[in-house]
Amino acid sequence: MKTWELGDQKGIASLRMAERAEPKPGPGQAVIAVKACSLNRRDIGIAGGTYGAAKPATRIPLSDGAGDVVAIGPDVTGVKVGDRVTASHYTTWLDGTFDPSVRNADLGVSIDGWLTERAVIPAAALVPIPDKMSYAEAAALPVAAVTAWSVIEGLGRIKSGDIVLTLGTGGVSIFALQIAKMNGARAAITSSSDEKLARCKDLGADIVVNYKTRPDWDKAIRDQTGGRGVDIVVETGGFATLSQSLAACAPNARVGMIGALAGRPEAPPALFPMVGNNITLKGITSGTRRMFVELLKAMDATDMKPVIDKTFAFDDAVNAYQYMVDSDFIGKIVVSVG
């Protein structure tokens, strides 16, 4: 079978195609005939050797994918050959609070991932795909959508009428917008592009602000909420945007810190508004398999469809990576396999 490998991790040009024997499932494992995968921002870092320690050159990349179970090993319960599945990328984090050991079994990072014709996945992490969802749509979810869900539901305990703010129009942010809307909340979103903001409006965004033309975007958002501010922030920008995110918050707001898109901060974040406004800031490391199952139930019930910007062929996977680097997309980038 054909598979992609990380190679020597000097950038996306290091990615290499290889030929391997068909995998056999070990105890607790399933072999999946992969139909689709998706990219996340961290995959750029992984390919460039800047995401944690160097990985073996033969590591198969990508945390997100979907396909059919074609073989199961001993001691596998809960899935059978023929099931349509995706998987929780922290394959040992099924439920409960975070434990750093989950990083030891992270698809596409510390264990082989999805960018291959047949993937070997720990069966306990597999999640069945709703009938009406395509493989590509399911493959878009594990990292980005579960992270957005973890902030909005797990931390944020969203209720209808809340206002959710998300920064930029990448994978996590567009899911955050959609999850906010499906919960009866209002969604505020920022972007460097008016064109992208127009697409967000079509997706239901209530408040849109161009952070390039409005460097004081926190004020713009506060004004558009009648001075009240937002209840939940999906903080994809990182510590460089945190002061402004906090300034855009309503009392009792919940801020999920997940990203670092905006680079290194020039000055340490100004935290003082947190005390006077009873704001909560939490570090978020994606989420659990249980959250993933809850998300799929909610998507199925509300007919929410992931926004897939572009789909690349398996042989063109490097172009999918380049397309992410160029950042001229909204939502998710998918690779179709087989």
């Binding site: 750093p100 000055a267 009873n278 939490k282 570090g283």
Partner: protein, 336 residues
């Protein structure tokens, strides 16, 4: 009756004694014969015009914390009766639910008159009855420091038995945190600039004391003392200057309640993400939290740590003593 007023708010010297007519009984209010009051760090800030918008009249009566006996009630008051021993929630209008910013509009000792008086007219909805085992001096320590510690540990921190709690310094909030955490089956680590104070808080139940002057990397000492696990809950009473170390000292999924403005600095927050830790801004608490806390204090028969008691006429000495930071726990004033 005698009261203290904040005067021009140029520092401790601005405190001034005054006499006023007795308060009248009005609708929704109770008249309290104040038996004791207690000081908080913010009272030092208020008297020096370093707290909030600083638009207080010179005649404002300071202190958010006190305890006393109800001696009269106005129309419409049903929750307390004459003879009840009571304390008041610091934000008089924050009875329950989430924080709303307007609550600073009825803040004892800041935007409404506080407890440095012989008789106080208090909105009855802010009052709560105190457990029998508490003396007036002990009960006076509860409203601000006690409720703040409770809010961090329980509503915010979801403390459970076996958790490790870290408290910074041996001031009012920290020592209340120590006592409430011990009552709930937690292990407590406390830091101080003084070995003598550490010996005293150990006598109050602290499991581990760390001198942050002689051990500047006290965060590492916390990790060592917990076999690398760190503290599940941190009472971050100091401020952004200690926050980086507080995050280092926190456990995975740790809860860090931030209340303090003693020391400002440039925090490194990345550890929050790596640890899935939560940093919460805390503004004291609501009356429901006060009632829940009093229930715990009553059940566990907690004796609040009263460091020193001053006479009412010596109020400026009580302020000076708090400022000297020679205390552990609370500085209290007796009203006769």
């Amino acid at each position: 009756m005698k009261v203290w007023e904040i005067g021009e708010q140029q520092g401790l010297g601005s405190l001034r004694a005054a006499t006023r007519p007795e308060p009248e009984t009005t609708r929704g209010h109770a008249i309290i014969k104040v038996r004791a009051s207690a000081l908080n760090h913010r009272d030092l800030m208020i008297i020096a015009k370093r707290y909030g918008a600083n638009v207080r009249p010179e005649t404002r009566v300071p202190l958010s914390d006190g305890a006393g006996e109800v001696i009269a009630i106005g129309e419409g008051v049903t929750d307390v009766k004459i003879g009840d021993r009571v304390v008041a929630n610091m934000f008089a209008d924050w009875t329950e639910g989430a924080w709303v910013p307007g609550l600073f509009g009825a803040d004892y000792g800041n935007t409404i008159d506080g407890w440095a008086t012989e008789r106080l007219s208090a909105p009855a909805r802010s009052l709560a009855k105190i457990p029998d085992h508490l003396s007036w001096e002990e009960a006076a320590t509860i409203a601000s420091a006690g409720v703040t510690a409770w809010n961090i540990l329980e509503p915010f921190g979801h403390l459970k038995a076996g958790d490790t709690v870290l408290a910074l310094g041996t001031g009012g909030v920290s020592v209340w945190g120590l006592q409430l955490a011990k009552a709930a089956g937690a292990r407590v680590i406390i830091t101080s600039s003084s070995d003598q104070k550490l010996a005293k808080v150990k006598a109050l139940g602290a499991d581990i004391g760390i001198n942050y002057k002689t051990t500047p990397d006290w965060d590492k000492a916390v990790l060592d003392a917990t076999h690398g696990a760190g503290a599940d809950i941190v009472l971050e009473t100091v401020g952004t200057g200690t926050l980086t170390r507080s995050i280092n000292a926190a456990a995975f999924n740790g809860r860090i309640g931030m209340v303090g403005g003693l020391d400002a600095g440039q925090p490194q927050l990345f550890g929050l993400v790596a640890k899935n830790a939560v940093l919460g801004g805390i503004t004291v608490g609501n009356r429901r939290m006060l009632v829940d806390m009093l229930k715990s204090v009553g059940a566990a028969k907690i004796k609040p740590a009263v460091d020193k008691v001053f006479a009412f006429d010596d109020m400026p000495k009580a302020y000076a003593y708090l400022e000297s930071a020679a205390h552990i726990g609370k500085v209290v004033v007796r009203h006769d």
